[in-house]
Symmetry: C2
Subunit: 408 residues, 2 copies
Amino acid sequence: MTKGLVVQKYGGSSVANVERIQKVARRVVGYSKKGYDLVVVVSALGDTTDELIELADKINPDPCEREMDMLLSTGEQISASLLAMAIQKLGFQAISFTGAQVGIITDSSHTRARIIKINVDKIKEELKKGRMVIVAGFQGVTLNQDITTLGRGGSDLTAVALAKELQADSCEIYTDVEGVYTADPRIEPQAKKINQITYDEMLEMASLGAQVMQPRSIEVAKKFNVPLHVRSSFNTKSGTMIIKEVRKMEDVLISGVTLNKNEAKITLCGVLDKPGVAVKLFKDLAASGVSVDMIVQNVSHTRWTDISFTVAKADFAKASKITKMVAKKIGAGDVLFDEDIARVSIVGVGMKSHHGVAAKMFGALADNKINIEMISTSDISISCIIKKKDAEIAVKKLHADFGLDTVR
Amino acid sequence: MTKGLVVQKYGGSSVANVERIQKVARRVVGYSKKGYDLVVVVSALGDTTDELIELADKINPDPCEREMDMLLSTGEQISASLLAMAIQKLGFQAISFTGAQVGIITDSSHTRARIIKINVDKIKEELKKGRMVIVAGFQGVTLNQDITTLGRGGSDLTAVALAKELQADSCEIYTDVEGVYTADPRIEPQAKKINQITYDEMLEMASLGAQVMQPRSIEVAKKFNVPLHVRSSFNTKSGTMIIKEVRKMEDVLISGVTLNKNEAKITLCGVLDKPGVAVKLFKDLAASGVSVDMIVQNVSHTRWTDISFTVAKADFAKASKITKMVAKKIGAGDVLFDEDIARVSIVGVGMKSHHGVAAKMFGALADNKINIEMISTSDISISCIIKKKDAEIAVKKLHADFGLDTVR
């Protein structure tokens, strides 16, 4: 009888070199000795993925996505086989599989494929033989046998999906930080590790810039209620539990402050202020795969108005070109660009039941004479676009004003 | 209508870096422009395979062979996808496949798997779509979906097997030399490129030390009469044709001289000279996977005799241990070791119909006062074990005496 099934996922920094792979092997074997069945998902070694992307870029700056997936999927295959060898070296049984071998079937949207189904028979069979099963993260295969990848951070998704499908007792996400923090500790040294956080809060935080976990994997975890434990692979401290509902000793208004410097702002001036005009712009942007984030249309006192929106920096060039073309077509005025912005956000389910959170945020920024250029809100988050130079100060100020500096 | 189907194989040095991959892409596209269908087999980039082996060795010096295959197969997957991208960059259609995807089914002898069957439907389908098909060499998959590799030089075998199965019009093996030479040009600058050579001669030469092609792939080419063209990827000169029968302008006695410094000699002294005693030794060696090469039993004038044999250096430690154990068990005398040997061989179908070739060889070596320690012969080759220090001189002397220095 086993004590239960644990799915563990180790990120690239956790398997960056021989010593770290050996360390992960010892940890995995430790769990096995305690009587757990283990399925271990691994990312590519350290910067392997980036190095492969760079290599491809030299050969073809606009590579076919199917071929990119063929290329990038090798990174996780390498780390999976090496971890299996490291576990075998310790005298235990392990076997590694690619996403294809383990039956992770996806659609054919290469580089960002979605999992359609997982056939876990093979994994169960190997577990029954007393083996630890190592799975190459980040990848799957189409029904046509083409290799696919699940997008940046896709190994998280592999782990969550396997945990769901195998009805695992726990799903541990190992990374190079000790969990989810109230803010990025590199910016705010007072940042505290959060012991428990809800899926929704984590989802907002991940979407708003916290890079601990891939947003899609949290969505899947939420959908199937897979409890996640984000923790460090460098020590044995417990990290952050991501769960459905958090019972807190005291009422916590805000769980964390996030910062995202990877957006740019585009403003289309002199747009005729009548229904249907703005539609053209956002239709064209969507058609070319640009995902628009915040949109603000100025209150206009004339027939004309300005529309501002933000896009990811990666899409900036494409979005700029499209906006200029649309401006010409609809007879709008200038197009302004601003890459010098940052988005600072506060996240917390507490704000659902509390009034005045937004006012408190705006006040805090005003105290430091930080100008707010755009605002957007959701049920459990408020984001402000500010000048990039003010970003760090804003994070520290909000962290303090919402009481996150104090021990939780 | 296409002009025909060409299978090309590019070795590791031909795809060692971005520039060389681009060069291969231009060559492949050149063939396509001329109207040929193309199936291209690639090895791993440069020293990738050795680097992966080194990495594995640090983690587990005695790694599970299944996991080694998982690891090593990534090298060819990387080069296949990169070559496809490079071809696409030139504006042509290409698609890459792993051995598994392309249906190269093997047995489960990991690290040295044998091909059972190949299902070429997928390749034919892609060729019909007007695509160049790039196949990761060196690898296959078992019926149980485990990834296998075909042993060192296995990409040659992939190419030959695909050429056979696709009934290709030609099979070109691209490498960093211009073809098969009458001797290693680094030893004998007078060595000449051989324009045509028979499968049997090539097989002998490859087995005896010429490293141009993997022996197993030549065996398969011979069996199915697949004509091979070994040539350089750095220029467009024609290389060496490996075919069934060679029509020569004049009678050529010897096609080439080969040298192998990767063997060691073991001598078991004082063995009782009666039937069945030696059997024990070679049974034990075979049982532990050591492949014995030359065997010489001295003519004895007493009840006792000496047995000498050679093994690959890689097996030397294992073979030594076993021989010592057997010596003890059968009450033989000392075991002597000699790593300081070389095997020099002459190869040629011509010797079948000519007498005195062996005598001429021994005479040539005697002229230079080179002592012959062991001799072995086949239908089309004669090998002598000599001191390693005499190896280069022996090659040069034989090359000259058998008339290989003169233009063919």
